[in-house]
């Protein structure tokens, strides 16, 4: 990989890695016995490994071929591998915490292994580790192919990818050590957040600069979604994480937002993290990989534009539906509820657009499990956005809030939509990137599909049942007008569902392991595809682009 960089680029990469190592050293010195010091060491080790990799081929001959005549795929390959590693890690953590709810002794009396510390390792592992790496990898692929331009940087894609993974490592290791802001889905502390800002701004500039290289005036709609994802996540991340560290030597910080404002900012962030991280970015995947795999153009391009602006606009208003019947002002709750219901329109427009694209290619969906992954993802997207709008209605929320129903809803989206569209996209992308004829085993994709579907359905049905039972038990009265059940009564009723849920999650995890094996064997064992005519430059003397 380093061999494809010129010597000055290698130097730049080395300088960057050394700066990161020095920042780690500064953290270690300032933090001393605080956890910040431990994180300084982790940063130094991470940077050290990168420095070692650069130095190992620092003096190799420079690339001779014209790099502008080909796409930059190495960082994408690395991103896919990292996404799969995080998938297995994050889903394993999920199964473990799910099992702890049924069998609490699985924490083994450890501080680091108790539910409260493991739970964010699961959410960060799957959302940022798996989802984030998959988004970075596919966005790099889609932007190059749709713009017909190579990435606008040689070192920066690596900086973005590795920098993002350093953030994930700091976040996850921090939770285990007891470092957390307690803001859901933004638990990492101030120094990791600052680092992510630097990485994310680089990502944004790289993406914009690559789009600027395109020839066609129009930007393909998948890029719109990726751009909204990058841009809005930056805004959300910065506003939500504004905090004052206790001192430069402390990992601990206090958020600048107090009480009710913090609640609103947190859920404005939390809901829009779902919107722009877990929806917009993955819709970008959907709008590229689904038409490509089906070999049919998207059903309605205009509809995709309308739903893009609808989603970008409406989502931002919806966050307060997480705070119904709380101390948040009533009108803000009503606003959130109204926009949440309106959100259904652009959401279903996207889901319908995807399914109508497949209309006329149903035989392909039947035969090709990869395409079926994407079809199922669109269906789950439609279902879970409907459920989401429904649950945002105040009286429904009165029942569903604080219960497992919310957890079931989130997983209908996360497993059924986000993970399925990602697996479908990766199965499309892996043979293309590694220039293989096909995936190693179509049968294993089939196995993975059914494991994923079964796992998701078991999970979601278990949580629906437990959530609704829980919500109803909490509000049931006896004839004398007293509460009929104690809290513990409702907990006892949950145990069977918690066991079922852990089992559903386990199936999903096994599916992800199968996918890892299939991808590994594709790279190792499938013969290379015959070069296509277009692989050969049209003119013998190519002039480098821009």
């Amino acid at each position: 990989m380093i061999a494809k960089l010129t010597s000055s680029e290698r130097q730049n990469a080395l300088v960057l890695a050394v700066i990161v190592a020095l920042a780690g050293a500064a953290m270690a010195i300032l933090g001393r016995s605080d956890v910040l010091g431990v994180h300084g060491l982790i940063v130094m080790i991470f940077a050290g490994v990168v420095i070692y990799l650069i130095m190992a081929s620092f003096y190799e001959p420079e690339p001779t071929e014209d790099r502008e005549a080909s796409y930059y795929d190495d960082p994408i390959k690395a991103g896919i591998v990292l996404a799969m590693v995080w998938a297995v890690f994050g889903m394993f953590m999920g199964v473990w915490v799910a099992a702890q709810l049924a069998w609490p002794d699985l924490a083994f009396d450890g501080a680091w292994s108790s539910f409260g510390r493991l739970r964010p390792t699961h959410t960060t592992g799957v959302i940022f580790g798996f989802g984030g790496n998959a988004l970075i990898a596919t966005s790099f692929h889609v932007v190059q192919r749709t713009s017909r331009a190579r990435l606008a940087g040689q070192v920066s894609p690596w900086f973005v990818l590795l920098g993002f993974n350093l953030f994930c490592v700091l976040a996850v290791s921090g939770y285990l050590l007891g470092v957390t802001q307690s803001k859901e889905y933004a638990e990492a502390e101030w120094y990791a957040d600052l680092w992510l800002v630097i990485v994310w701004v680089t990502y944004f500039i790289l993406y914009i600069a690559t789009i600027a290289r395109r020839k066609e005036p129009h930007i393909y709609v998948a890029n719109w979604y990726f751009m909204a994802f990058i841009l809005v996540v930056a805004i959300l991340h910065i506003v939500n994480n504004l905090a004052l560290p206790v001192s430069w030597g402390h990992a601990k910080s206090y958020t600048i937002w107090p009480g009710v404002q913090d609640a609103m900012v947190q859920w404005w962030y939390g809901h829009n993290a779902v919107a722009f991280f877990l929806t917009a970015g993955f819709l970008g995947m959907l709008y590229y990989y689904l038409p490509v795999r089906a070999q049919r153009p998207i059903f309605s391009y205009r509809l995709s534009i309308l739903s893009f602006w609808g989603i970008t606009f409406f989502y931002m208003w919806a966050g307060s539906h997480h705070l119904h019947y709380t101390a948040l002002p009533h009108w803000v709750q009503t606003l959130g509820m109204t926009f949440s219901v309106m959100l259904l329109v652009p959401s279903w427009a996207s889901a319908g657009n995807a399914l109508l694209t497949l209309n006329g290619a149903w035989h392909r969906v039947r035969d090709d499990a990869t395409l079926r992954f994407m079809m199922a993802a669109a269906v789950f997207y439609g279902l879970s956005t409907f459920e989401g709008s429904f649950m945002a209605i105040r009286p429904v929320n009165a029942l569903s809030h604080y219960t497992d129903w919310t957890v079931g809803h989130v997983h209908a989206g996360a497993l059924g939509w986000v993970a399925l569209i990602t697996f479908g996209s990766l199965y499309t992308l892996v043979p293309v990137l590694w220039k293989r004829e096909r995936m190693y085993s179509a049968a294993l994709i089939e196995v993975h599909f059914w494991l994923a579907i079964a796992g998701t359905l078991i999970y979601v049905f278990a949580m629906w049942n437990s959530g609704i039972i829980q919500g109803l038990m909490w509000r049931t009265y006896t004839e004398e007008g007293a509460l009929a059940y104690s809290f513990v009564d409702s907990l006892v009723a949950m145990y069977p569902y918690y066991i079922a849920r852990a089992f559903g999650g386990l199936l999903f995890l096994i599916g992800a392991v199968v996918a890892c094996y299939n991808i590994w064997m594709t790279v190792r064992a499938v013969p290379a595809a015959a070069p296509r005519a277009t692989d050969i430059p049209a003119t013998t003397v190519a002039v480098p682009g821009e």
Partner: protein, 250 residues
């Protein structure tokens, strides 16, 4: 005309970026901006006190252990919640909370008004192994808290950071933070008097974990749990009735 505008907007990615920001930022601003002036409309609680250093340390342990993942601290305005947990939560009650710990999930019960409902002894036994006290519980055991000494030497820094953000800690409170943390968990020492002097007579000074020779993380966490819902009695003064939970009777 419109067409050329679009063409330009499309041509430059930057124009597109601005359009996305214009579309996406308004909703957040509209909902969040008025919250900065919300103190004009919400109830006042002049009697509300700040967390003592020991309680703040306990709160940080509560955050660190992710207790908020299973316990909310927000009683909604629904009849069954008010009857189960106490008066519904007011915005003012979390005015010093950074971060807020309203939570989003009740695998365990709400804790907004848990303070004073159980004895210190019960809390310590429960945290040591929840199933000793509640056999059906699925809560993790936190036995190691009682074995871990509380880090008190940097509590002054914590209070100072909180004050920089607007929490009314006095110089005296900041200066004596470590001593007060020790004093609140050791009722028989000279330090105990300083705590009630600075934080009010109602402050609970107690050997929370039953051991007075050292201050542990168990002391801090129990001190925090015992003050939940008791920083002000504003909620008990409010007369508004809880909303009827829809379709709840039967």
């Amino acid at each position: 005309m419109s067409d050329t505008v679009h063409r330009k907007l499309e041509r430059s990615a930057i124009g597109f970026v601005i359009a996305i920001i214009a579309a996406a930022s308004v909703g957040g601003i509209v909902e969040i901006a008025p919250l900065f002036t919300i103190d004009e409309t919400v109830e006042q609680a002049p009697d509300m006190r700040v967390y003592t250093p020991l309680e703040l340390a306990g709160r940080n342990i509560y955050v660190r252990e992710g207790c908020y993942a299973c316990h909310s601290q927000m009683i909604r305005t629904l009849r069954d919640e008010v009857e189960r947990y106490g008066p519904f939560s007011l915005a003012v009650e979390s005015q010093y909370d950074r971060p807020m710990l309203w939570g989003s999930k009740r695998t365990g019960p709400d804790l907004a008004r848990i303070g004073g409902k159980y004895s210190d002894f019960w809390h310590v036994a429960h945290l040591n192994n929840p199933r000793d006290v509640v056999p059906e519980s699925n809560m993790p055991a936190y036995a190691w808290l009682a074995r871990t000494p509380l880090k008190t030497d940097d509590l002054s820094d914590h209070l100072a950071a909180q004050r920089a953000l607007g929490v009314p800690y006095t110089d005296e409170m900041i200066e004596n933070a470590a001593r007060d943390a020790y004093g609140q968990a050791t009722p028989d020492t000279d330090y105990a008097a300083g705590v009630t002097e600075r934080y009010g007579e109602a402050t609970q000074v107690s050997a929370f974990d039953g051991v007075t020779t050292k201050v542990t993380e168990m002391d801090a966490l129990v001190a925090y749990l015992q003050v939940l819902g008791r920083l002000t009695d504003a909620a008990y003064r409010e007369t508004a009735a809880a909303e009827e939970a829809p379709a709840s009777q039967e």
